[in-house]
């Protein structure tokens, strides 16, 4: 019996390691500058994996070696100060070795470079829209009070910076490769989270405040956006697309996006038209 139990514990340990190395389920290749997050995970894997294997092997060994015998007595040794002291310090050092590189990467993550292209990700139940800053490079101010059918982003009409903002009214966003981008995250209803698995970055969107994170896309391609913070019954269906383009394609796409000013003018035309129709 003790041998069998020891073997099962051993198999679980070996099985875990084998699964880790041969599992086909692994992360999709990183497509942003956050490869450092992957590196920290790998480092953590090696250190924690080592501890896991050593302790599990120790348990298997003890189960086999110190199995119960009627006439045997266990060792009587309540404490071992030296051993406890050593283990405490080794653990502390190990933990510090994990933490330090993690904090360095985090520092990069929360420090947005000055040259980052600032744009807005706009979330609602249940979908995505985007707003680009226009030629002045500045996003116009918004207020939830202004949201209406004519002004879906709630831009403040008096703010001149908002006039040339380009509104992407659809769930497909294009990004320019190798240009750092700061996502200014905004939601008008509940919590959401703008998540593209290949970019690694994540941050909740909170109504009432603008949150942010930044990335630099490093690979062209077509990526899926998922909402990563529970937001009600439609959470699982809150998806979108991000396409990372080279300069030419990006410019083409950008030019097609309507500015706020144009949109207002269109709305006016439509209204006038309707007015004209109704007075006829």
């Amino acid at each position: 019996m003790p041998v069998a139990v020891a073997i099962v514990f051993l198999l679980i340990t070996v099985g875990s390691v084998v699964f880790h190395f041969w599992s086909p389920w692994w992360w999709p290749e990183v497509a942003s500058n956050w490869g450092g997050m992957d590196d920290t995970i790998i480092l953590t894997f090696w250190m924690t994996g080592f501890v896991f294997v050593v302790i599990c092997l120790f348990i298997s060994y003890c189960v086999w070696k110190f199995a119960y015998k009627k006439d045997k007595r266990a060792e009587y040794k309540p404490e071992d100060k030296k051993l406890e002291f050593r283990l405490t310090w080794i653990t502390t050092l190990g933990v510090a070795a994990l933490l330090a590189p993690g904090l360095v990467v985090w520092n990069n993550y929360v420090t947005v470079p000055d040259n980052a292209y600032k744009m807005e990700v706009f979330a609602y139940q249940w979908g995505w829209k985007y707003r680009l800053p226009g030629d002045d490079g500045i996003l116009g101010k918004t207020d939830i009070k202004y949201i209406s059918d004519e002004n879906p982003f709630g831009l403040i009409l008096e703010d001149p910076n908002g006039r040339d903002d380009r509104l992407v009214d659809g769930d497909e966003l294009h990004l320019l490769i190798d240009r750092p981008v700061k996502f200014e995250l905004r939601t008008i209803d509940v919590l959401h989270n703008f998540y593209v698995p290949q970019f690694r970055g994540k941050m909740d969107m909170v109504p009432g405040i603008i949150t942010y994170y930044w990335i630099t896309p490093t690979k062209t391609g077509d990526f899926e956006v998922l909402c990563a913070e529970y937001c009600g019954s439609g959470h699982y269906a809150m998806r979108g697309r991000v396409i990372v383009d080279k300069e030419q394609d990006y410019k083409k796409w950008e030019a097609k996006q309507i500015t706020f000013e144009k949109m207002l003018a269109q709305n006016k035309n439509v209204k006038n038209l309707q007015l004209a129709k109704s007075t006829k």
Binding site: M37, F52, I55, I144, D189, Y195, M205, V206, H235, Y236
Partner: protein, 609 residues
């Protein structure tokens, strides 16, 4: 404080060194009782004996049965969720129902099963017995505590029958969605959930004060704090945490109830919900998250610390060896408890709180790994050169170490703020917390039930059924949660009603989901064996001898087994040693119970405790 303890030790432990020169009466001396023996309430009717009982042992069993009953519902809900994830084509569930089941499963398992079972169940059963007291300090309040819990459970269950059904807000109940139209049960369901939690906290406070005061005031003569079994240390510290943490949950629930019913804006900013402008303005959703996790993180340890304590005792008894580094274990429990109040925002790294908090909370979180690791070391060193009996409690304890180790180590991933960014809100998190605060404590619960069942019923549980139950539960649940971490690496978000074959998923996760679901169904079904064992063995189980495991702690030393009302007959016990004098060199037996005076074991070379 430790110095003071050393000092007291010196003063009291002269007798252990040289028994022959001192008279038996001297070496056996124990300080006089400081308070008179407890006056107990004696029940007179069937109702006051079997329903509104004031006997802590009985209340403990009531608590445990109610908690396990509720937990079975949680188990069935998890089956339904798993079937949806593995076989989305069956179309058994609507998204709304799926989210309602996710929510109820989470809340039931964390609060109504684990918290109630460890503190209400094991706390009531073991505190008076292990401390050598006759009952809790306030038996009447203790009874109220249980009945408040029953009402809380009934209110929770009632939410299945109200218009709109139970809340589907996720067990974290984050506003604004918890009380706005896009979430199922956002009218009635959420209110009943909040009211139920408020009742639970009220009930728990009555019980919790009892546990603390009983431990501090009603211990038997000679039972110093540093002689208490680690089970009691774990339950005691967890209760202190609970009394400090639950108020945060309570105010959070009250404020959200007001937001929902009276239109206040504690947590609600101006917003447009499904095209409609709401009248809220100026509230902060993140404030709720702080309140919730200020409760929620200590809650993890409210469940874990009793499990730590109990497993320490099980390992020691069944390895016939003292727990290694007892004092370090006590300070680790207390230290983890204290630190647990400084780590809560590691649940909120990507919540939108000021990102600079990340540095502080990552550091505190990784610091807490140190005392936790020490506990793991001490458990396995306890096995070293032990005399290990592979009884059911020992098997479950070993399984606990493996699962807890696994879950604890993945905690180092998530606690390290950078690593958390890609992994948060994915299945990695789901796998981590199920391993560390689901499976690991539940394995301890099983070990503890196999261990203490004879104390409650006077009969043993069936060993063969128990072994089948053990292997399916341990290997099966490991097979559920170990691979699940890898879905997290793939980037599968949690709380998805279905995950289609998305372009970013390179290897289909559906197959893995099906494997996990089948394992979950098997593990769940194996619990029926356990229930059968518990029910049938109460009548037909092998009669247990007194102290069947040859344990040292006091609960096994009562004059009758199972212990009667008042526990100790005429006189409460005197305590001469800690609860871990196993395999003492020179002693006749391989254990010396706590209440055996030194004069009866003069040859034993006991270290001072």
């Amino acid at each position: 404080m430790s110095d003071e303890y050393e000092h007291k030790l010196e003063a009291k432990s002269d007798y252990t060194t040289d028994a022959s020169t001192v008279g038996a009466s001297d070496i056996d001396s124990v300080p006089e009782a400081e308070v008179a023996d407890q006056e107990l309430y004696h029940s007179h009717s069937w109702w006051t004996t079997y329903v509104f009982s004031q006997d802590a042992k009985y209340i403990g069993v009531q608590y445990a049965l109610t908690a396990i009953g509720t937990g079975l519902l949680g188990l069935v809900l998890s089956w339904l969720m798993r079937i949806q994830l593995a076989f989305p084509g069956l179309g058994w569930l609507e998204p709304a129902a799926y989210y309602q089941f996710v929510t109820m499963h989470g809340m039931i398992m964390v609060i109504y099963l684990l918290t109630a079972l460890f503190l209400g169940g094991f706390g009531n059963l073991l505190i008076p017995l292990m401390c050598g007291s006759r009952d809790m300090a306030f038996p009447y309040v203790n009874m109220l505590s249980y009945w408040a819990f029953v009402v809380a459970v009934l209110v929770l269950l009632a939410s299945f029958f109200v218009p709109g059904g139970p809340t589907g807000a996720g067990w974290t109940l984050y506003p604004p969605q918890a009380i706005t139209a896009g979430t199922p049960g956002s009218d009635w369901g959420i209110i009943l959930m909040l009211v139920s939690l408020i009742l639970f906290v009220a009930g728990f406070t009555m019980g919790g004060l009892n546990y603390i005061i009983t431990v501090l005031q009603l211990r038997a003569r000679g039972m110093t704090l540093m002689r208490m079994p680690l089970t009691i240390w774990g339950i005691f510290t967890a209760t202190v945490l609970a009394l400090l943490a639950f108020p945060a949950l309570l105010v959070g629930c009250l404020m959200m109830t007001l937001d929902s019913m009276l239109g206040t804006s504690f947590f609600m900013p101006a917003m447009v919900s499904l095209g409609e402008k709401l009248s809220y303005d100026g509230g902060s959703p993140i404030l709720f998250q702080h309140l919730f996790w200020f409760f929620g993180h200590p809650e993890v340890y409210i469940v874990a610390l009793p499990a730590f304590g109990i497993v320490s005792d099980l390992l020691s008894v069944h390895a016939r060896k003292n727990i290694f580094g007892y004092r370090m274990m006590v300070w680790a429990i207390v230290g983890i408890g204290a630190l647990s109040f400084f780590v809560w925002a590691h649940h909120m790294y990507v919540s939108g709180m000021n990102p600079w908090f990340g540095f502080f909370f990552a550091t505190t979180t990784l610091i807490i790994a140190v005392p936790t690791a020490i506990k793991v070391y001490n458990w396995i060193i306890t096995l070293w050169r032990g005399n290990i009996q592979l009884s059911l409690p020992m098997l479950f304890s070993l399984a606990f170490i493996v699962t807890f180790l696994n879950g604890g180590l993945t905690g180092l991933f998530l606690g390290n703020v950078t690593v958390d960014v890609p992994l948060s809100d994915t299945y990695f998190v789901v796998a981590h917390f199920h391993m560390v605060m689901g499976i690991a404590p539940i394995l301890v619960v099983f070990g503890a039930i196999y261990h203490w069942y004879p104390l409650i019923t006077g009969r043993m549980l069936n060993e063969t059924l128990g072994k089948i139950h053990f292997w399916i539960t341990f290997v099966g649940s490991y097979a559920i949660y170990f691979p699940m971490h890898y879905q997290g690496f793939v980037g599968v978000p949690r709380r998805y009603f279905e995950i289609y074959e998305s372009p970013y998923i390179e290897t289909s996760t559906l197959l893995l989901n099906q494997f996990i679901t089948i394992a979950a169904l098997i593990v769940g079904a194996a619990q029926l064996l356990f229930l059968y064992n518990i029910i049938v063995s109460a009548r037909l189980g092998k009669k247990s001898e007194k102290n069947p495991w040859k344990a040292c702690s006091l609960e096994w030393q009562t004059p009758q087994m199972p212990p009667e009302h008042g526990n100790w007959g005429k006189e409460t016990p005197k305590v001469y040693r800690w609860a871990y004098d196993f395999s003492v060199p020179g002693a006749k037996e391989d254990y010396i119970p706590q209440n055996v005076p030194p004069s009866e074991v003069t040859g034993a070379k006991v270290e001072k405790t």
